[in-house]
Symmetry: C2
Subunit: 431 residues, 2 copies
Amino acid sequence: MHRYYGESIPFGSAEKAFKDATTLGYLNSAQALADYAEILIHVKEEFEAQKSPIIVIGLSYGGMLASWFRLKYPHIAVGALASSAPILFFEDITPQNAFALVVSNDFKGVSENCYDTIKRSWSIIDEIASAQHGLRLLSTRFKTCKDLKDSSELKKYLEAIYTIAAQSSRSLVQKICQIIDQAPTDDSILDKIMAVVVAIAGDAPCYVIPPESAPDQSDKAWEWQKCTEIVMPGGRGDETMFQRAPFNQNDYNSLCMLLFAIRPRTHWITTYYGGRDIKLTLKRFASNIIFSNGLRDPYSSGGVLEDISETILAVTAEQVLTSWFRLKYPHIALGALAPSAPVLYFEDITPQNAFDLVVFNDFKKVMMQPCYVNPPESAPDQSDNAWEWQNNLLSMISIDTMGNQSHLSRLKKPSKTQPHLDIYTFRVHGA
Amino acid sequence: MHRYYGESIPFGSAEKAFKDATTLGYLNSAQALADYAEILIHVKEEFEAQKSPIIVIGLSYGGMLASWFRLKYPHIAVGALASSAPILFFEDITPQNAFALVVSNDFKGVSENCYDTIKRSWSIIDEIASAQHGLRLLSTRFKTCKDLKDSSELKKYLEAIYTIAAQSSRSLVQKICQIIDQAPTDDSILDKIMAVVVAIAGDAPCYVIPPESAPDQSDKAWEWQKCTEIVMPGGRGDETMFQRAPFNQNDYNSLCMLLFAIRPRTHWITTYYGGRDIKLTLKRFASNIIFSNGLRDPYSSGGVLEDISETILAVTAEQVLTSWFRLKYPHIALGALAPSAPVLYFEDITPQNAFDLVVFNDFKKVMMQPCYVNPPESAPDQSDNAWEWQNNLLSMISIDTMGNQSHLSRLKKPSKTQPHLDIYTFRVHGA
């Protein structure tokens, strides 16, 4: 449902919508929230469900949108579940190194040797690349689908493997480190790294550079957002397993100038949504937001990890769930939300809406705390709240991320005589 | 400071800025709030006053902006004082008749005969106007500066006199009714009404239609806002002293289509800022807003008149202050705020900022309640709060209305050793 993603293309065609800043200007988070607001009010009218409380749910960028929606439209959503939402990844609120540090610590926690090997690999790659025929050598060694033009192409690919592994599950990190640690001692570091590539990417004809590398439309939309408002200054200092690469605003600006002839507005997110002194600001102002994070997920470093008030809660899990569901559907799995019910996540053979139902069940568990979510004015007294809440929960909005489809799905028309559950899903692209 | 008002003209010239919807599109309340946010953050950086709490203050449309700013930017403003802010004048939240009813009751409260005379005058005017040479007769009788083309010109002028009198002071209403009630009994109703015109408008060469009636630029800006987002469906039913004129959305739309080739978005304000079930929504979400209203002010009918929570307060005064200050500066007087200190409002010989200082003093009085406004995290314990608050209050933002100047005024640079007060004034046009 997020403009410019999936099927939500304004101006009649993608060509026009993505033409330049004149039309791309409408691609921004504030506009997306306004769209949700309009749609939700419309949907409620359509189905005569005006009294149905709405909870907004999202992961990653969708999680940021969920929390921001609750902050900006408290009259429309009674609560938000923001999973892996790095709302503090802006300006200098979070150290630039934080994301890379979590990934690094995930690997270090599994094996010091693994961590060291990866850390040492970068300079070896650079050394070979700078030698005569070095790039050709690397291309052969890593079986790249096209010849490498620069060592950064290989390094970016490897960085992505490590980062996605850390985001996905501990077992993937363990698998990578097992390959590195158990390799014959006379194998070179590059041999070990190549073995990791084969193990993770599978037995493919070639690696590193995909046969066709044109970015798809949603990628371009996300690039635009990163070049305008979603400026997350992530860098890498010496204390990570990655190659040192501090964030450089000037380089970033130049890239955006090149891509879109536009300068990023680095301070806009904190100006519009806040983020500085977030505890102080939200404690007495906001309510009914759950921030959930897996602490091994690098995005947690930009998340809210501590309770802010009695109704603004942080749910954290040291161990991100190792679930096939998350591996299969990393774009929708709220892995950290329900560590106690992982079995349900395996249901990838159930109907499309199974995940939503799972989230709903998880959410109900969190909701079991009486008084957590603002009941409608007509709700009975406190001791009955929890139960009433569950019976009256009519609508949930799931703002999920990276989906290729834009749709507003609805399970069934509300019955006036019976409690029921409606779920609307907004699929949007995410970080 | 509000775009398109006073000197804040974007696009280089008023001609371009007011050209059509392409450029006028940036004239809206959300954009104005975003501008305030950007400016405030800039100003705080400029003066190294990052830790200074900001309170936003405004009257009428400025009052709506003040409350909305606190709702949308709680991380920037710690509190808002919204005076005569009719934030509930949208859609069907407030009965269409409410505004006219307050004016009518102001007159009825002073004199039933006065109320009846005014109420009867409309049909008499229409009757004469519809007769042959009737409009010329009315033009002569009311000494209009140009010939009347329609009786509605005269009726609108009279309506404005009664409404402004009710908004301004009880003594003006009393004056009008005195003229009507004490006129010789054989005077016709129209004679009485003309006597009111002369008494209120003064001894002028002509009345009703001003010699030059082209609307000024700020009026056009406000028309645009009324035709896009600020759609207040005010109408008049039979139970007022005005002529029956129910609000008609189709007529309203047609007028806007004619003026700007645009359709009003009647539901946008409530979608973006809320307004329905306002107590329920704000009780657990928002904080630190004072809504002040004089109950004889017709705008109070669209205002928040009851406390919503311990930190969202309604200050109401049955008797709107009769102060020369308010008469002289109706665009900035917060008449209802400090009924206990009217003497200060007479200071129209003091420097320009006198009014701001008065408001500041008034505000301090309200602030005397410990814990009313969120102190900075470093504030001492509750018993010291009130005093600390006063000493540390560094910045106040006054969003005032109808000013012809746009300026950001600042009293003095913060001293680091001494408590001080800064006041920034944003002048904007208002309803």
